[in-house]
């Protein structure tokens, strides 16, 4: 029933997305609402969100395929599948955001490796290959001696690529709310949180119900998520309290926009309420007891993280670099206020729909949880 519901929702998203992609290719960026001042919009947030899940899920896969923790044995493939499904989604989102996406080859052939974006393009390409290779190796009937070395490289890349997204923003010294040294350091934690949330969904909703370890896995992952949410909450507190202490800097303006701006409701209701407080309460009270509810908490955390990605990008770009710039010249896409257009939402719905279908189809059709050795009767 749940699978069917998710398939239908995914297909609906895909249908809406087809219109969005058509509009994007025919009219270019004209029907988007990001502009020359708020230059990065919903799709960049979506890229950071999905790329974050992909690296986080890979980190979770190492529990099984690299560190061989008995409790998580058999969950590595599912985590890798999550990584494989979400990473192309993130890359598609950022690809559609480019003014000339057909020139992406230039980043491979004529890269400026000093630019964080070039490092990320190369890094994510290598990472995608590593995910594919490690998934393929994990499916082989006999354990491959190459799997662990590949997972080690993948883990290191996953951590650095997570930080790289923070660095992509953090190197802009003119954006005070981004240009803080711990922004790149925060992102691996954010992404690990995404990965744990994804695995709660995977195990809670699609895990083998006969597996006796399932409840324990959910319990441990649920408690891990509680700890990660607390750490994430602490990061948020340091960001907010430092910026607002004097309440006079550019950074304070960005934070005030997040807290009390036109989308303050999204911060309080979705990011804090639904994405942090509710999972904290539910997972602390009954960690992993109800697999469906635990999976649902994973969805809530992911939703909160998606809003958090948007809250990192939009407010920082919504502040004029120079006083009066917003009114100095009038024209399309010359505005410091931003709300995604219908076309942007449609493309987003399509990408989310594709990820949903891909993820559910993998869990539904592929032997992602059962490893050959285990299905033959091996137990811990």
């Amino acid at each position: 029933m749940l699978n069917r519901l998710l398939y239908v929702a995914g297909a609906l998203g895909l249908l809406i997305g087809l219109w969005g992609v058509y509009d994007r290719f025919v009219y270019g960026h004209m029907n988007a609402n990001y502009g020359s001042y708020v230059v990065w919009g919903l799709w960049v947030a979506l890229y950071m969100f999905f790329a974050g899940i992909a690296t986080g899920a890979f980190m979770l896969a190492t529990l099984d395929l690299l560190f061989e923790l008995p409790l998580f044995r058999g969950s590595g493939r599912m985590a890798l599948w999550g990584s494989l499904v979400t990473l192309p989604a993130g890359l598609a989102a950022i690809g559609l955001d480019l003014g000339h996406m057909t020139r992406i080859w230039k980043v491979y052939v004529q890269p400026n490796f000093g630019a964080v974006m070039a490092q990320l393009v190369w890094g994510y390409t290598i990472f995608l290959l590593i995910v594919i290779v490690s998934l393929w190796l994990s499916f082989r009937p006999q354990p491959s001696r190459w799997l662990k070395p590949v997972m080690v490289v993948g883990l290191v890349l996953a951590i650095f690529l997570s930080g790289g997204i923070g660095a992509l923003l953090g190197v802009n010294q003119n954006r005070v709310s981004w240009h803080v040294s711990n922004l790149p350091a925060q992102f691996p934690i954010f992404n690990l949180t995404s990965g744990v949330a994804l695995m709660l969904i995977a195990i809670g909703w699609f895990g083998p119900s006969r597996d006796p370890r399932r409840a324990q896995q959910l319990q441990v992952l649920g408690l891990a998520l509680v700890v990660l949410l607390l750490v994430k909450g602490y990061y948020l507190w340091t960001d907010v309290s430092q910026a607002l202490y004097q309440n006079s800097s550019h950074g304070a303006e960005a934070i005030n926009l997040v807290l009390f701006g036109p989308y303050g409701w999204a911060f309080w209701l979705l990011q804090i309420g639904l994405g942090m407080l509710l999972p904290l309460i539910v997972l602390t009270m009954s960690p992993g007891r109800n697999s469906f509810v635990t999976g649902l908490m994973g969805v809530c955390v992911l939703l909160g993280l998606a809003v958090a990605r948007a809250n990192i990008i939009f407010p920082a770009l919504s502040l004029p670099e120079l006083q009066g710039l917003g009114d100095a010249f009038q024209g399309p896409h010359l505005s410091f206020t931003y709300s995604p257009s219908l076309m942007e939402w449609a493309v987003t719905a399509g990408i989310v729909g594709a990820v949903t279908i891909g993820f559910v189809a993998g869990a539904d059709r592929l032997p992602l949880f059962a490893r050959p050795a285990e299905s033959a009767g091996t137990s811990d």
């Binding site: 020359s36 020139r103 980043v107």
Partner: protein
């Protein structure tokens, strides 16, 4: 500062004023042909012509002779004439020895936005793309109220934060010290816009002024206006026609480039020549005789956001 510019002191050729005038007239004529208004529909192939150092020297000598003659006869010399002579003198030097800077006198700016419009016309900027807006700020409270106007071109930073973030080196400081954009290389990621502390870059979304207007029969000159929008610009010394809504410069980040296509032809940037308050100055800061060299050492000079270490080449006189 004095409103009457001094004539540059650089010695003139011994061939004399008359000879210089004749030689210069020829060079000026040649330069004028090269810098003639661009044909309305035909874009030249390849790069545009620029003055050679020899041509620039000849033109300079003619210009300085004319200015000296005017000075003797008591005819006032305008800042533009002085800057034009400075410009030609700079062009007679090797490229590496020039340092182009812009000086904007905020006391003289009257906020007419003429420079903004001149820039739009010169570079045929589409809707949503602007290189030189004029920021307006109202200060004080009634009855002590005043307005301040701050024209904001690209600062052409010596340490530009926008170039290092480009994943394909499509934006870079060129040999003239100007931060350039290679339209054919740019992938349109807009990382450079986020990095610019001055908001000096805009993205070309592909708009035209004439799209979706009523049929040509109902609007006088609609066809001519539409064709004008497709005429080549000559930014970075190359013709760039905006004919394909999916091809460069549509989908690219665009910015002020100090009108280098004009400067290298012996013409001042469009925003400088059209400034009715004579508030914008342009020239070679490496030339101690130039007007801009006199201006940038004034104690009332500032540069925007100097604390970021960007070393802008645009100076403001307060």
């Amino acid at each position: 500062m004095s409103r009457q510019p001094t004539i540059p002191l650089t010695p003139v050729s011994r061939r004399g004023v008359l000879g210089a005038l004749m030689a210069g007239a020829g060079a000026l004529a040649a330069a004028a042909v090269k810098a003639a208004p661009h044909p309305a529909t035909e874009a030249p192939k390849g790069a545009i012509n620029v003055l050679t150092p020899e041509e620039a020297l000849a033109a300079y000598e003619a210009e300085i002779a004319r200015l000296r003659a005017a000075n003797i006869s008591g005819t006032p010399v305008d800042h533009l004439e002085r800057m034009r002579a400075d410009l030609l003198r700079a062009l007679s030097k090797p490229v590496a020895e020039r340092r182009w800077v812009m000086v904007i006198d905020l006391r003289a700016c009257i906020g007419c936005h003429g420079c903004t419009i001149a820039c739009v016309a010169e570079n045929k900027l589409p809707p949503g793309v602007v290189y030189r807006p004029v920021l307006e700020e109202e200060t004080g409270r009634y009855p002590h109220v005043s307005r301040r106007f701050v024209p904001r071109p690209c600062m052409q930073c010596d340490n530009p934060p926008c170039t290092s973030v480009c994943p394909v080196s499509a934006t870079y400081t060129n040999e003239h010290g100007v931060v350039a954009v290679d339209y054919e290389q740019c992938i349109g990621c807009r990382a450079c816009i986020t990095a610019c502390p001055y908001g000096a870059r805009t993205f070309d979304f592909g708009y035209t002024y004439t799209a979706n207007t009523t049929s040509s029969g109902a609007m006088l000159g609609a066809d001519q206006a539409a064709s004008y929008e497709q005429v080549s610009t000559f930014e970075y010394g190359k013709p760039h026609a905006r004919r394909d809504p999916h091809d460069s410069p549509v989908g690219n980040v665009r910015k002020c480039n100090f009108c280098m296509h004009r400067v290298l032809n012996g013409e001042l940037p469009a925003c400088v020549t059209t400034c009715i308050g004579r508030a914008t100055f342009f020239g070679d800061a490496n030339d101690p005789e130039s007007l801009v060299s006199e201006l940038i050492v004034k104690p009332n000079v500032i540069r925007l956001k100097e604390e970021l270490g960007t070393e802008p080449r645009v100076y403001y006189l307060l």
